[in-house]
Symmetry: C2
Subunit: 701 residues, 2 copies
C-alpha cells in the first residue's frame, strides 16, 4: 500500500474546520501553531467563510487545487460522500477521527466499517483510523493531529505508532522525546499497523521505531518488517499488551486483534533483535536512549561513575539485580583514577568519584576519559540526580566535563547516559543541554538497569546468526490426531534426531525373537496412537532381560491393554533398549496458529513450570541460535558442569534442537505439537537419548 | 542517649555565620528563609558584627542566653574548643559539618574522630556527624541544614535518616515529599543511626520512617526499634546498600560499617514487617505512599481503573509480573458498572472505563464508588498520566470525581493511589490537589506495582505472629569445629527434630549384633567429626541387610578409612535405618555474626542455588512463621501436591523448622552453622526423615 499521499501529502483539506473545541478546532489550532508553510492547506466548512481569520471553503470541490490528503473532522455519517468528493480532487489519503465503527461492537458499527473499507479500496484512498487521533509528520511539518499540545520543538528521529491514543499523547508529553512521525492509528482498520511499520522502516528520517501494539494482524508483513529493520540496523522497540491472561483479554476486546501466544511473539522479537518494553515508561525511555546516543555501544560492559557512596552502592546493587556487567577496570584505568581521586578513595567499577571531583570540570573530564578509555567498557553511566529545587553547583561542572570529553573524543566517544536516582525532580535546563550533546537522561535505576540489560542483549551483531527464515503456516488446522510413540520417533529420526534402534512386534514369539537379537535389557511399551498414558493402563514393562521374559511381557501388556482400553487401535508392542539415565530435559514444539512453530527447551521434571525456566525460539533455527536458547536457561549452568559436576553434551543437544526445528519447519502446516519428554542428555561426547516422544498433527486439509 | 537538645533545641548558636557560600552562609540563608521565630537563634562570628543585617556575636560566650544546640560551620581544628565553650552555656547537642575525621581513612582523621567522641562524651553533648549535612526539624521549625533549597512547604509526617547527604537532598527535592525530620547523619559516629531511629519511632509527629543505611552498628537497638515500630504500627522503609558483593564493598569502605549478610538483614526486616526499598526512587515513592494514604488497605486485593484499553492492559500485565492480586469483581459491582459503561464495554478488573466516563465527574464518582464497594477490593488504583503539555480536560473530571467519593465515604473510604504511565511529565497543580485529598501519585508501573506488592505483603496484621524474640549472639566466635553426624543428630533430637533410632558400633561383632536387632536394611557410615565427605573415603555402605553383611561392612569401612584418613579420630560406625526416599529438601542455619542465627529452607539438589529458591528467617520462629517461609518458596507448589501429585507433610516440615530454630536460638553463642541435607519430606501424615546432618560449632569461649 502506497502511503505517500497519506503520510507525506503536498496538499491537504481540513473538513469540518472550526474554532470550537473538538476535532475540527483542535486540528486547525495545531496547524496554525506549528505549520510554517500554509500555502496548500485548505479549511473546509459550509457554515463558515473564515476560520481563525483564514479563508474557509464551502466544500472540497470548491478548493482550487489538487488535494492529496483529507483530514475529516466530521461525524461518521458524512464520511463516505466526502471520500468520493476528495477522490475527484486526486485524494490518496484520509485521516478519519470519527467513531461509530467496529469499536462499538454493534452490527451497525461493523456494517459502517465494512462500507468504509470497501469505499476506500474502490477509491484507492489510504485511510488512517477510523476512531484515531491522527498523526504528525515532523519531518515535513504535517499536522493532522486532534489533540492540542503546548508548542515546543519535537522534531527528531523516533517514529511512533500506537494503537492507543492515550499512550501516544503521553509520549508526546514526555519533554525529551523527539519524533520523526507520531501516529495514533486508532482502530487501524484501513492502513494497518504493519503498513505503518513498513513505512517507517523505509523512512530515512526514522532511526528508532517505537510501537504500542494490541496484536499483530498481518504476520508476514510484521516479520518482513522486523527482518528489514534488523538488516538495516534500525531498532524496533515494542510494547505489546497481553503478557498476562487478563492483559490478553483486554487487548483482544479492545481492537479485536487475533493474537498468537505471548511467548511466541517474544521469541519472534528475540530472533530479529527487536526490544520489548514492559510498559509505556520503558518504551519512552528506551526510545529516547536509542534515539539520543550517537551510536550503539560496541560491547556489553558498562562503567558506572557517581558522586557519592550511596549512589554508587545503588548502581552496584540494582545493576547486579538486573544482570548488568561491570567489568573490573584495567590496571591503566586504575592508575589514572588513583592520581585523580583523593588518597582515601578506592577506584572501582562502579566508581565513587567522591565529592572532590564534583567541582572541577577538568578533573571530571579526566576521570571520565580514563574510564571511557578502559578496553572493557562499552558505555559510561553517570549517576546523578538533576536536582531542581536544591542549589547544587555540581551539575554545571559535570555537564562541562562531559561536553569536553565528547568534543575531544569526537567519533571515538563511547555512548554516555545519565541515571538519576529520583524521578519527578529534574532540572529542565540541564536536561536539554545534555540531550543536545547526545547524552540521554534515563529513568531511575529500576527502569534504567532493566533497559540497559536489554540494550546489552540487543547489541549482538546478528541475533538470528544469518538465519532469517521463519516457517509461517499457510492455513490454520482444526481437528488433530496423535501419532504413536514409534511413528513419532521415526518422524524425528528422518530429520536427524538420534533415536535408538527399536522394533514393533505383533506376537509373543516375535517379542521373544526380538529380545534375543537385541542387546541388553529392553523397555516394552504398547504401541498405539490411541493410548497416550501407557503406564496408567499397564502398557509398559521395563528392564526385560531375555527372550522368555519378553514373551511373558508381551502377553501381559496385551491383556492389560485389552482390559483397560478395549477400543484402542493397537500396532503391537514397541521394544526399545533401556536408555541409561542422563540429565532429563524437555524438548518440544508448539505450532503457534499465528506465528508458526516455536521450539521449546527446558530442564525436565516439574522445573520448567515451577521455575518458568524454558527457552522458546522460532523454527527453523541454526546451531548458534540453539546454543543461545540454552544459554538463556538458568539450568544452563547444570549443562556446563555445575559445582565440579559432569559437563553434558551441549553440542549434541544443540544439534537435536536444530533437527527438531527443521522437522517443525518442514511440517509447519500439519504439525500441532511435539514433545520429547524426557530427552536424556549424556556427558560430553556421549550424545543424547530420546526416551519418549509424542507428535500431534492436524488432519490434512 | 537523650537527643532533645540536639533535635528539639529551644535555643541555638550558628558558629561561623556568614553571608558567603558554604556551610556558614547556607545555614544562615536557610534559617532566615524558613524559620518564623528567630528570637533564640544567635549568629556567631568573631570577624563580623552583623550577618544578613542580624546581630552577630564575637563568641558563644558573649551570647546572653543559654544555648541548647551548637551549629558548627567551622573547620575541624576549631571544633573541640567550641564544644567546651558551648558546654558552659548548657549546650547538649552539636551539628558538625566539618570533615577531616574517620572518613579520610588516615591515622590523623581517626585520631581526630576519637578525640571528638571522647570530648563529646565528657561534655555530654550529642553530636550529629561529623562530616554531615545537618538536619531540619519541620515540626518545631529548626533548620540546621547546610544546603540551600527553594522555599516551599515541606512539613509532613515522613522522618528521614540518611547516611548519604546526596540521597537526603534528592528526597527533599522530590516535590510531593512532606517531612517531620530530615536528618543527613554523615559519618553518624556521635549519635548513631539507631539512635535517630529510636528518636523517630518515639516521635508523635512521625508516621513513616524512611532510612538510607550503609550498615547496622547497634544491632540490639536496631532490632528494638523495628520491634517497637511494628508494635506501634509505624512503618519503617529501608534502603540499604550492599545487596551485591560490589555494593557491600562500597558500603563498607564508605562508612566502615561492619555488615552482616544481606540475606540476614532482609530476614530481620521481614520479621518485623519493615519494607525494603531497592533504590532511592522506591524509598521516596514508598514513603510518599505510606505517608499520604489516610489508612492502610484492609486486604491485599487491588482494583485498577483506567481510561483507555492500552493503559488497562499495562496494569494487567505489569501487575501480573509483580504478583499483584486483582480479585474478580462481585456480581453487584459488575451490575453497577454495566449500567455506567457503554454497551460495548466489558467490566472487568483491571477496568477499562472507556473515554465515555472521562468527562463527567458524577459518572466517574459512581464508577469509583461501585469499584470501592466491592468486598474483595482493599485499595483502588487509578491509572492516569497527569499530562502537562497536552490539554486534557479529563484530569479535572477525574479529580472532582475522586474528591466527591472521598467526601461521601469519609472514614470508610478505602485508600486510593494514582499510577501514571509516563514519568517526567506531570501536572503540578493536580499533583498537589490530589495529595491534598490523600491520594498519592506513584511512579510508573514497573515501580508502582513492585511497591504495591510490598504493601500487600506488609499489611498482614502481625508479621512475627506474636513472636518478637531474636537470638542475638553475645560474642562472636572465631575458630570452629565440626560435630560428627551422630552427635549432630543427637543435638537436633533433643530439640524435637525427629531422628530415626541409630547406633554407633565400635567392633565388627557389635555391628553384626546391631544389624540383627535393628529392623530392615541399614546404612552404615563412618562416625567421625573429622570426616565430612564420608562417601569419598569409602566410609559409607548402604542397604546392609543382615548381621554377617554388617560385619563385613564394618571391616571394609574401617579399612578404607584407615587407608584414606589415617589421622582422623574415629568414634566407630554409625548404623542407621535406610530411609525411604521422599521429597528432598535442604534445611540449615547460618549464624550471622551480626544478626544471629538464620534458619534457611529450600528444595534439595542444586535448585536452591540454581534458582535461588530459598527462604531465610531469624531464629527462633513459630509454626506460622515457618509456614510463611515455605509459602515464600516457588517450590511450595510441590509440597502442596503439584499437578495431582502427592501432598507432602507440610505440618511436620514446619515443626522441624521450629525445632531447628529453637536449637539455633539456644545455641546462639556457640553455633556456627547447621545443615540437614537432605531432609526427606514424606506424604501428608508420614512426617520427615533426617538423612544426614552436620553441625559446626565455635570453640567455647
Amino acid at each position: 500500500m502506497d502511503l505517500t499521499k497519506l503520510m507525506k501529502p503536498r496538499s491537504m483539506a481540513v473538513v469540518g474546520a472550526s474554532e470550537k473545541e473538538g476535532f475540527g478546532g483542535d486540528v486547525c489550532r495545531n496547524i496554525l501553531t506549528y505549520t510554517k508553510d500554509l500555502s496548500r492547506i485548505y479549511f473546509v466548512n459550509p457554515k463558515r467563510t473564515t476560520v481563525f481569520e483564514r479563508q474557509c471553503f464551502p466544500s472540497i470541490s470548491d478548493i482550487p487545487d489538487e488535494i492529496d490528503l483529507l483530514i475529516l473532522c466530521t461525524p461518521q455519517k458524512t464520511i463516505l460522500p466526502l471520500l468520493e468528493e476528495g477522490a475527484k480532487k486526486g485524494c490518496g489519503g484520509a485521516v478519519i477521527y470519527a467513531s461509530g465503527y467496529g469499536e462499538t461492537g454493534t452490527d451497525e458499527g461493523r456494517r459502517n466499517e465494512k462500507e468504509l473499507l470497501e469505499k476506500a479500496r474502490e477509491l484507492n484512498i489510504a485511510v488512517m483510523g477510523p476512531n484515531c487521533a491522527g498523526y504528525i509528520n515532523y519531518v515535513d511539518d504535517i499536522h493532522a493531529f486532534a489533540f492540542v499540545s503546548e508548542k515546543r520543538e519535537r522534531k527528531g528521529n523516533v517514529g511512533v505508532i500506537s494503537q492507543s491514543g492515550q499512550l501516544c499523547l503521553s509520549m508526546m508529553d514526555s519533554p525529551s522525546m523527539r519524533f520523526s512521525y507520531n501516529i495514533s492509528a486508532g482502530n487501524a482498520k484501513g492502513v494497518q499497523m504493519e503498513d505503518y511499520m513498513e513505512f517507517l522502516v523505509n523512512d530515512k528520517d526514522t532511526k528508532v521505531i517505537s510501537l504500542y501494539l494490541e496484536g499483530v494482524k498481518n504476520v508476514k508483513k510484521f516479520i518482513d518488517t522486523l527482518r528489514k529493520a534488523a538488516q538495516m540496523k534500525k531498532t524496533v522497540v515494542v510494547l505489546k499488551a497481553g503478557r498476562s491472561s487478563k492483559g490478553q483479554a483486554i487487548a483482544a476486546s479492545h481492537t479485536g486483534s487475533m493474537s498468537g501466544t505471548d511467548a511466541s511473539f517474544e521469541a519472534l522479537l528475540k530472533k530479529f533483535g527487536a526490544i520489548r518494553a514492559d510498559d509505556l515508561e520503558e518504551l519512552i525511555a528506551m526510545s529516547l536512549l536509542l534515539s539520543t546516543i550517537p551510536k550503539l555501544p560496541q560491547r556489553p560492559g558498562f562503567a558506572s561513575m557517581n558522586l557519592s557512596g550511596g549512589e554508587t552502592a545503588i548502581c552496584a546493587d540494582v545493576g547486579w539485580l538486573n544482570g548488568i556487567s561491570y567489568p573490573d577496570f584495567a590496571e591503566e584505568t586504575l592508575r589514572a583514577l588513583k592520581e585523580l581521586l583523593p588518597d582515601y578513595a578506592t577506584p572501582n567499577n562502579p566508581l565513587d568519584m567522591t565529592a572532590s571531583l564534583s567541582y572541577d570540570a577538568d578533573l571530571y573530564a579526566q576521570a571520565l576519559t580514563a574510564v571511557m578509555d578502559d578496553p572493557g567498557v562499552g558505555m559510561v553511566l553517570i549517576g546523578y540526580t538533576l536536582l531542581y529545587e536544591i542549589a547544587d553547583p555540581a551539575i554545571h561542572y559535570m555537564y562541562e566535563g562531559i561536553k569536553k570529553v565528547i568534543q575531544e573524543k569526537g567519533q571515538s566517544c563511547k555512548p554516555i547516559a545519565v541515571i538519576p536516582f529520583a524521578e519527578n525532580t529534574r532540572n529542565p535546563e540541564y536536561q536539554e543541554k545534555l540531550l543536545g550533546i547526545g547524552v540521554p537522561i534515563l529513568p531511575p535505576p529500576l527502569y534504567a538497569f532493566r533497559m540497559l540489560k536489554k540494550l546489552a542483549d540487543h547489541i549482538k551483531p546478528d541475533h538470528a546468526r544469518g538465519n532469517y527464515d521463519i516457517a509461517l503456516p499457510e492455513t490454520a488446522g482444526k481437528t488433530s490426531y496423535a501419532l504413536s510413540e514409534h511413528e513419532s520417533k521415526l518422524c524425528l529420526e528422518a530429520f536427524g534426531v538420534p533415536v535408538a534402534a527399536e522394533r514393533v512386534v505383533t506376537s509373543a514369539d516375535e517379542a521373544r525373537d526380538a529380545a534375543e537379537s537385541m542387546n541388553g535389557p529392553l523397555a516394552m511399551k504398547i504401541e498405539s496412537a490411541d493410548i497416550l498414558h501407557k503406564s496408567d493402563v499397564g502398557g509398559v514393562i521395563l528392564n526385560v532381560s531375555d527372550g522368555s521374559k519378553a514373551r511373558e511381557a508381551y502377553i501381559r501388556i496385551m491383556e492389560n491393554v485389552k482390559k483397560n482400553c478395549p477400543d484402542a487401535r493397537i500396532n503391537g508392542v514397541l521394544m526399545a533398549p533401556m536408555l541409561k539415565p542422563g540429565l532429563e530435559m524437555i524438548l518440544g514444539v508448539n505450532n503457534d496458529p499465528q506465528f508458526g512453530p516455536m521450539v521449546m527447551v527446558g530442564l525436565g521434571g516439574v522445573f520448567v513450570e515451577l521455575f518458568r525456566d524454558a527457552a522458546v525460539y522460532p523454527a527453523p533455527l541454526g546451531k548458534e541460535e540453539a546454543l543461545d536458547m540454552l544459554r538463556f536457561l538458568k539450568a544452563y549452568r547444570m549443562l556446563e558442569g555445575y559445582r565440579g559436576g559432569v559437563r553434558y553434551d551441549i553440542d549434541a543437544l544443540c544439534e537435536t534442537l536444530v533437527s527438531v526445528g527443521k522437522f517443525a519447519a518442514a511440517n509447519k502446516d500439519t504439525l500441532k505439537e511435539l514433545d520429547i519428554n524426557p530427552l536424556f542428555v549424556y556427558p560430553e561426547g556421549e550424545g543424547v537419548g530420546v526416551a519418549d516422544s509424542l507428535i500431534i498433527k492436524y488432519m490434512e486439509r
